[in-house]
Each structure stands twice: as structure tokens, then as C-alpha cells.
């Protein structure tokens, strides 16, 4: 299909307006169906038995007593999920994470599961399963895990990416390096050098809706799965592979989603629910408790990062270097690598070097969390940048403007940038009234920048025109932030009709071709591209049908503002035909009218943001209050500005929680101490100020409307912006996230005592 994705510079009628989202009323009235709202006749309750140990060999599992309990219909262990991954290491890790095979690798690791007629029976059955564990020494801290003396989590892992092949196994799975130039030489030209070490604790995406699914496997080997996910096609692929099914035999339908943020890009309980259903011969509903969500799903990496940046007196950075160590849970990942790629992406640097280490620990498998790995790297780098500006005596915004990357800059991770928004966001911040507002006692202001790649990927969309002229749009990217509204706007724009004539749905895996999941801020970027393409294909057919109705050549029919218009002298007297009129005749002119699109959405434009925040610190208790917060970010083109603002605010809110209070706390026994929202403290409404936003639009040249992804970048600057604000308010540099009151008070006291 010869679809031209280039930016056209067109003007807009629908795009850029703010209509109500199609899923809005149902969500606020409680009618919307989330993962746990789906039920089937005869369904069983699935529950998972989890390891209470951080690290233990599973000697034996005896399920006989549980199986005999009346009401229990199936009990499974790893034996019921045999290894069908055929050497695919990443899939094997997913399988082992869903159901531990030989070792329990973290507190919360699944070891067995039951399906029973009700929740009480299922709970009782779990208590009757006897697991014989041999407890092994464990390690949960990223720096401890790197030491030679640390207990080994997987003795088949030898660090990749080292110059010399290691002879001993290690908890470090991989070393990666990015950059260019010669940092050693660069530091030689510096008048000022800042060098610091930082730590960030592990956080959870904190989605309000726990993982939930209903699995129904038929005796003919086909199956249905209703599930809360960010990517039902990916879930289908993974579940089918792990259960030994053909993908087309498993139909996955995604529910409404109460938050995912990367945590629902990964299967956890779904293969287990399918295996239980297969064994029991009945549908199985499996809903994780909050405790399970924290102990066994989600979290992002804990990190330990060293940064060194040098600059000349005039404020030019001469060299920048960072070493980043990221925890991956007990399975290999590429989290430090992403951190190493993003760390200095905002700057134009002659000499830059970043090194990442992927580290295994006895914690849950690390999953993506909104711009995964970038916020921690930005925290370390932007803290050091702030400090360096201070040492030079330059305003932190001016210092960043001086060193900001531009179109044509070779990025620290390799590619050369096209038109980008880092400079414009900094200029906007410089001129923002927030920067000039006065501060009171014990108050501090901080700002910071952030970068995210954004992603495009495989996309398939159907646009069907009904005989009444209304349009249904079926997309395969799960709507996590209002994309059905945005895509309806795009369809309306392209067809030249009103938004109210379009209804968008998320179709199941049997109704559309494969779609990558909604991650990498790709939902609106890629599906709008596919929607434009599908609409253009439909317009082609609409023109053909009009030509038929008029009995003229299709070459003489143009599409203008929702109407077929006859062109040329011969046809000047023909009236326009509306989409509705053409649709009404479709039965007689060749049947239903539809436009399809299958494409790989390349060219997702990179995204930059700069945030400003004001914090007040109580110097006697270390307590903090966020007084004011402003987000400035490039959207390329804001299709639905309200939902773009929502993404900006949401990322900032999550970043504020991460910066100030959220953290996984492990006891000496390797058990998670706070698997609940009482002691895992995400911000409540009253903790946050109204978050102000400013949308910049620097068009992405690779999208017809200039759209860039907007969902993730907003969580990148907050840790750093808040750390800079707290450091300014408290008069001491904060280097450990979260900056909880005990940490702030300890830092203030240490500074006082000199």
C-alpha cells in the first residue's frame, strides 16, 4: 500500500478539539467493564500459591491433600506448564516467572495454583499444598548483588559484553556501553567537574486495577481469554506459545484498563489461568490481590548510578560520563542499557560515555514502567547538571540551554536528531511565570529535563462505514489514555465528517491483524497513522462509488470535506454527494464500504520535556509539600489536548510519588514489608497541587499530522526536578530517592553537624 506518512502541514477541523471520550460516561457511571467484571457461567476461582522465601530450592511439592478437598477442580504446578519455549531464553524466563520450576527466586514467586468452586475453598486448598523448600541465601540490593561474595541467583549466567570472557558466573548478566568522543580528554578541558553517586529505590507502577482475567479452554483445544492488558495480541502470542497452542485458536479480548503504565505489557497469571481451565475443563477466573500485585508483578528497577560531568567557565560541557547499575529481578533484562542510552540524550556533547550493568536480585521480575529506566538516569544526570551550573555560577536553565541538543546533533546513544523539542521546552520554561514567582521560607524551586525515544511498530486497523453513514473504527491498540477519542478525531478529520459520527472500539485478536501493544507511547502515534491510512483507503472506495452513481470516471471525483465532488468542466453541474448519501446506496453499488490498513509505523519522533516544581520542606521533620508544578512538553501535534494534558499530569503525579515516598522495602529475610497501598505510599489527591501544563507542538516529520507519542516523557523529569527543589529548599544535595522525611531530616542534620 502506498501510504505517505510524511507531515503535510495541513490545517485541522476536528484534530485539536476537546470532545468527550467515547468511554467516558461508562467509566464515571460504573458501567464500563474492567478485567474483574467479566464472568462466565460455571466459572471457577483460581488462586496462586506463592513462595514466602526470597530464594529457595523447591525440593518437592505435594498437592494430594489439596486435590482431595471437595470443591477443588484442578491443582497445577510447573509440571502442568511444561517447557515449550524451544531455546527462547526470554520466553523461558516468562514461563519460570509464571510458575517456578526448580527454584523460588523471590518472595511472591508462584509455585502452584488451584481452581475451586469458590474463593474460600480455593484459599483452603492453597493451605493444603505442601512445598518442601531448601532455603538459600538471598540478595535484594543492587550494589550488594554485584559483589563477588553475593549469593548467586543463576549459576549459568556469565556477564556478557566484557572484553574478556569471564570464567566465573555472576549476578551481572550484561555490560553495555554508549557514547562517542574521548571523555578523558574532555575532562582535561574542564574548569569545573561534578562527580556524585545516586541511588533510587524500586517502585511499582501502582495501577489501581489489579491483574484480572477469565480463561476458558474448550475440549477441542480452542480457548478464550478476557483480560486486562496493554496488549492482547502480545498476551495471545505469549500464552499460545507457553501452552502449546496455535495463536489463532486463542482469542483474547481486552477489557477496559484501570492503569498499566508498562506493568500490563507482561503475562503473569494468564498462562496459569489457561492451564487451570485446561485441566479443570471449566472457565477459571483469576484476580490478583493487591498483595500479589506488589509481590509478584510490576516493579521497575532499583538503581545505583555514578555521574561525572565537566564544563568550562563559559558553561560548555566538555565531557559527561555515567555508570548505571539497574536491578532486573531474577531474570536478565536490558534496563541499565536503556538508562545508559537515555542518560545524556538531552545534551549536545562532544565527549560522552555511559556504561550499564544489568544486575540480578531476589526481587520480582522487573517490568517496564512508563519510559522505563529513563527517570532514574535523568535524576542522577539532572542533579549533577544542576550542581555544575551552581558551581559555575550560571542559571540552571541558561546552562541547559547552552548545552541543549538540536536538530543535527548526534545523540549520546547514536542517532542524529531531526527537529526536536528540548531547546523550545527550555525557552518556554525560561519565560514561564512560574520561574519568576517569589518563594517563601523553607521553599525551593527545581527544574529538570527529560527525554524518551517513543515507539511505532506494527499496527492494523479497520474502518467500516455503515449504511447510515456512521463510521466504526476497530483498532488493536488498547486504549490506556483516551486514544479512542483521539483516533475518532483523526478518522473524522480525514473523512471530513463530524466526531459524533465515529465510534471507535478496541477489537479482539481474532478480528484484526497483529498489533504491538500499547507501550512506548505508541498508541495514538501508530494507530492514528493506521487510521489515516484506513480512512484514505475508504475514501478511495467512496470516490469509486460516487463515480458509479454519477456514471463518470473516478479520476473526475475528488473528496472534499466529507463529500464526493465531481471535477472538470463536463461535470460542473453535478451536486456534491455526502458520505451518508454514498453509504445509503452501497448495497447497490458494490456492497459495504470499508478501509483497512496494515503498517509498521516508523519514525516515532523523540520527545522532550522540561518540568518546574516548588517544594516546601519542614526542617524539623523532613516533611515536604509540593506547592506548584509545571510541565512543558513537545507533543508534535496534540490530537486531543485534554488527554495530552492528562498524560503530562499523570506522569508528573507518578513521578512526585516516586520522588518523595514510594519504595519497595525489604526485610533482612528478603520479604517485602509493604505490599499494600497503606505503606507503599502513592500520592493521594490532597498531596498534589494542580499540575499546570504547556503543550508545545514541534511537528514530527514522519507523521501526516506531526504527532509524537506523549505518554511516557512526563515521568522522566520529576525525580530530578523534585530533587533539585528539595535540595534548594533544604540546603543540602539529596542523592537518594525517595526523599522520604527520614532521609531528608537525616541529610539536614548531617549538613548541620558538618
Amino acid at each position: 500500500m502506498n501510504f505517505d506518512p510524511r507531515y503535510s502541514g495541513r490545517s485541522f477541523t476536528s484534530v485539536g478539539t476537546r470532545p468527550i471520550r467515547p468511554d467516558g460516561v461508562d467509566k464515571v457511571t460504573g458501567r464500563a467493564r474492567y478485567g474483574a467484571d467479566f464472568n462466565m457461567a460455571g466459572q471457577l476461582v483460581g488462586r496462586i500459591l506463592r513462595s514466602p522465601h526470597a530464594h529457595a530450592k523447591i525440593r518437592k511439592i505435594d498437592t494430594s491433600k489439596a486435590e482431595k478437598l471437595p470443591g477443588v477442580k484442578a491443582v497445577i504446578t510447573a509440571k502442568d506448564l511444561p517447557d515449550l519455549t524451544d531455546g527462547d531464553a526470554a520466553m523461558y524466563d516468562i514461563l519460570d516467572n509464571c510458575m517456578a520450576r526448580t527454584k523460588a527466586l523471590y518472595d511472591g514467586h508462584a509455585v502452584a495454583a488451584v481452581a475451586a468452586v469458590d474463593a474460600r475453598t480455593a484459599r483452603q486448598a492453597l493451605k493444603l499444598i505442601e512445598v518442601d523448600y531448601e532455603i538459600l541465601p538471598h540478595v535484594t540490593d543492587v550494589d550488594e548483588a554485584m559483589k563477588h561474595s553475593a549469593p548467586l541467583i543463576n549459576d549459568t549466567i556469565f556477564t556478557e559484553g566484557l572484553e574478556e570472557k569471564p570464567v566465573k558466573p555472576s549476578n551481572v548478566t550484561k555490560r553495555t556501553q554508549y557514547g562517542h568522543g574521548d571523555v578523558h580528554e574532555g575532562f582535561g578541558h574542564a574548569d569545573f567537574v561534578v562527580e556524585r553517586s545516586f541511588k533510587t529505590e524500586q517502585t511499582h507502577q501502582g495501577y489501581i486495577e489489579p491483574h484480572a482475567c477469565v480463561a476458558s479452554v474448550s475440549s477441542d483445544g480452542t480457548a478464550d481469554l478476557w483480560v486486562c492488558t496493554q496488549g492482547h495480541f502480545v498476551y495471545r502470542q505469549h500464552c499460545a506459545q507457553l501452552l502449546g497452542m496455535e495463536a489463532s485458536k486463542l482469542r483474547v479480548t481486552s477489557s477496559e484498563i484501570g492503569g498499566g503504565f508498562g506493568g500490563k505489557t507482561h503475562v503473569w497469571a494468564e498462562p496459569v489461568a489457561l492451564a487451570l481451565s485446561r485441566k479443570a475443563g471449566r472457565p477459571v477466573k483469576l484476580v490478583m490481590t493487591r498483595d500479589e500485585v506488589f509481590r509478584a508483578s510490576g516493579p521497575t528497577s532499583a538503581t545505583s548510578i555514578d555521574v561525572k560531568i565537566g564544563a568550562r567557565k563559559d558553561g560548555t560541557i566538555t565531557a559527561a560520563e555515567a555508570t548505571l547499575r539497574y536491578s532486573c529481578g531474577p531474570y536478565a533484562g536490558m534496563w541499565a542499557e536503556i538508562g545508559a542510552m537515555t542518560a545524556f540524550a538531552c545534551y549536545k556533547l562532544e565527549n560522552v560515555k555511559t556504561v550499564g550493568y544489568e544486575v540480578l536480585v531476589n526481587r520480582p521480575k522487573t517490568a517496564a514502567y512508563r519510559a522505563p529506566s529513563a527517570p532514574m538516569a535523568a535524576f542522577a544526570v539532572e542533579s549533577a547538571v544542576d550542581e555544575l551550573a551552581k558551581e559555575i555560577g550560571m542559571d540552571p536553565v541558561e546552562f541547559r540551554i547552552r548545552n541543549a541538543a538540536q536538530e543535527g546533533t548526534r545523540s549520546s546513544y547514536g542517532p542524529v536528531y531531526g527537529p526536536i523539542g528540548i531547546g523550545p521546552t527550555l525557552e518556554a520554561v525560561k519565560n514561564h511565570p512560574h520561574m519568576k514567582a517569589p518563594l517563601g521560607k523553607n521553599q525551593g524551586r527545581g527544574m529538570a529535563c527529560g527525554f524518551w525515544f517513543n515507539f511505532g511498530g506494527q499496527t492494523c486497523t479497520d474502518l467500516n462505514i455503515g449504511m447510515d453513514g456512521s463510521v466504526s473504527l476497530a483498532v488493536g491498540t488498547v486504549d490506556v489514555g483516551g486514544s479512542r477519542a483521539s483516533l475518532s478525531l483523526v478518522a473524522a478529520e480525514e473523512l471530513g465528517i463530524d466526531y459524533s459520527q465515529v465510534k471507535a472500539i478496541v477489537a479482539d485478536t481474532s478480528s484484526l491483524g497483529y498489533n504491538d501493544m500499547t507501550d512506548g507511547s505508541r498508541g495514538t502515534f501508530s494507530s492514528s497513522m493506521a487510521t489515516i491510512s484506513a480512512a484514505r483507503n475508504a475514501i478511495k472506495i467512496l470516490r469509486e462509488r460516487a463515480a458509479q452513481m454519477w456514471d463518470i470516471s473516478v479520476d473526475d471525483v475528488a473528496w472534499e470535506q466529507g463529500h464526493a465532488v465531481a471535477k472538470g468542466e463536463k461535470h460542473g453541474n453535478l451536486g456534491k454527494l455526502s458520505l451518508k448519501e454514498i453509504a445509503a446506496q452501497s448495497g447497490k453499488t458494490g456492497g459495504p464500504i470499508a478501509g483497512h490498513s496494515e503498517l509498521v509505523a516508523d519514525g516515532a519522533g523523540v520527545s522532550f520535556a522540561t518540568h518546574i516544581c516548588d517544594i516546601e520542606v519542614d526542617p524539623e521533620t523532613g516533611s515536604t509539600r509540593v506547592l506548584r508544578y509545571t510541565v512543558v512538553q513537545d507533543a508534535g501535534k496534540a490530537v486531543h489536548p485534554t488527554y495530552v494534558e492528562g498524560q503530562y499530569q499523570g506522569g508528573a503525579a507518578q513521578g512526585i510519588g516516586w520522588a518523595l515516598n514510594e519504595e519497595y522495602i525489604y526485610g533482612k529475610d528478603g520479604r517485602l514489608q509493604n505490599p499494600g497501598f497503606l505503606d507503599y505510599r502513592i500520592p493521594v489527591c490532597s498531596d498534589l497541587p494542580m499540575i499546570d501544563t504547556q503543550i508545545l507542538e514541534i511537528p514530527n516529520p514522519n507523521h501526516p499530522y506531526g504527532v509524537r507519542g506523549v505518554g511516557e516523557t512526563s515521568i522522566v523529569p520529576p525525580l530530578a526536578a523534585i530533587a533539585n527543589a528539595v535540595s534548594n529548599a533544604a540546603g543540602v544535595r539529596m542523592t537518594h530517592i525517595p526523599m522520604s522525611p527520614p532521609r531528608i531530616l537525616a541529610a539536614i542534620e548531617a549538613e548541620r553537624e558538618g
Binding site: 484459599r123 524539623e620 521533620t621 523532613g622 516533611s623 518523595l660 515516598n661 522495602i665 514489608q673 509493604n674 497503606l678 505503606d679 505510599r681 500520592p683 493521594v684 490532597s686 498531596d687 522520604s740 522525611p741 527520614p742 531530616l745 537525616a746
Partner: protein, 286 residues
Amino acid sequence: MRYIRPLSIEDAVGQLAGSAGTSAILAGGSDLLVRMKGGFVEPDLIVDIKAIASLGEIRETADGFSIGAAVPCAVLGENAALKKAWPGVVEAAKLIGSKQVQGRCTITGNLCNASPAADSVPALVAAGARALIAGPGGKRTIAVEAVPTGPGKTSLAKGEIIEAILLDSQAPRSGDAYLRFIPRTEMDIAVVSAGVNLTIDEQGVVKAARVALGAAAPTVLLVEEAAEALIGRKLDEAALERLAKVCAGACRPIDDKRGTIEFRRKVAGVLAKRAAMTAYARAGGK
């Protein structure tokens, strides 16, 4: 599991005393139901006390106030006389959870749940509140601080129910206040807390004081030395510093997920100081 809803305190006491297995009293349920849902307790008998009419009232007596054991904290906030007399107790009760939780939860439940971090308890102890207990052997009254004996444990015997919390009329030129430290603004558990109740003379000199600390030891602490630091003085800088120091020293906190020993000690002192200043102002001190 059996659930009953007796109409009289005698019946409730009788049912509890006569029950064979484990039993639990249900007031607002904001602790009990959470613990049942979490699978931590599975009582054989649940005695809901909310249908006992007398337990749902706040009565003003000649001596002060009697707050029925089933009165939700939200109702405390709506009682003008109680709020005027004991603003510290009411502000503590109104810190529990959220609006929704306060519509159900009770100060008696808060006390009997015996959490060291219970919000209303330090305020009640500072106020010198007493618990009126009905049991198989009749009625008795004890100081509030004698109810919890350790985390999750109380001195109540089998069959005993707290009927009401009793507060004296507030003496002239008196004021109380309660403050807790939480990392967020609401929906959190006190990391450490302080309740102060004091009476001053016409010159602003403290005549009587009670200082209680929460989440600073396995049970609420009534710190007599802290009261002594205030009595006989105006609330000057030196007295406040001494109060903070004594409170920090009196703590026997632990290191846990909610805070460190160091942090709890320091903040206990800071909160006691700030609560004392509010109580002093409420008493009319300048």
C-alpha cells in the same frame, strides 16, 4: 461463622461470655473487617454492637461527656459542646482514615484494636479519659491507657465490652491538642504522634499537664516527666526545648518500614512542642 446483632448490652455480654470458639466485637469494622478480609482472623462469633441504642449516643453529664462505643468519629466532629471542650480529642478522631472511614469508625474500636499508632488514643490519654466496661461480673471503669497492653492486645477479659468512653468537663483555662506525623496528607498511619492537655493560671503559668506519645513504644506512653517540664512555667522557649528533649528520650520506638528510631525520637519531640503550643493557645495562653 455466626453474626449476631444484640439489642442490649446484657445480651451482648452474655453471648460473648457464653461463646465457645473465637469471638469478636464489631463496631465500625474498619479494623476488624480489614483483618478478616486479609485472612488474619476468622472469628466463630461476631457480635455487632451497633443496634444497642445507648451505645450510639454522646451524652453530656454533670461530670462531662459519655461517648457511646458505637458512635462514629464523624459524629464527634458534629457535637459542638464536645468540640469546644475537647478540641484535641475531636481533631484526633477526625484524623482517622478519611471521610468514608470516619462515617463508620469509633474511638472505642481505635482503642481496642490496640495499635501503638492509633490516633485517638494519645489524645484520650492526655485528656485523662476513662473506659466504662460492662462484663459478666458487672461494670468497672479504668483509665484509657490501661486498656491496651501491647500491639493487638488489651486488658479486657472474655465477655467484656467497652460501653463508653468518659471525659471529664474541661477545667477553666484548659486546652488540648493532638498532632501526628505522616509522610502524606491523609490516609496514612502515624509514624509518631503527640497529645497534650494543659491548664494554666491567670498569668499563663502551666498548673497541670498531661503529655502522651503514640507510635513511640508498644503501647501509648503517658510521659510524666514531660508534664513536669511544663508545670510551673510559662510556655517559653526553654520549657519547650526541655519538653522536646524529654519526649525524645522517653520514646522506645523501633526501626521499621514507617520510620527509623532516630527519626521517631526527633519528631516526637517536635510534635510535642507544637501540640503544647496549640494547647496553650487554646487554654488562652499568650
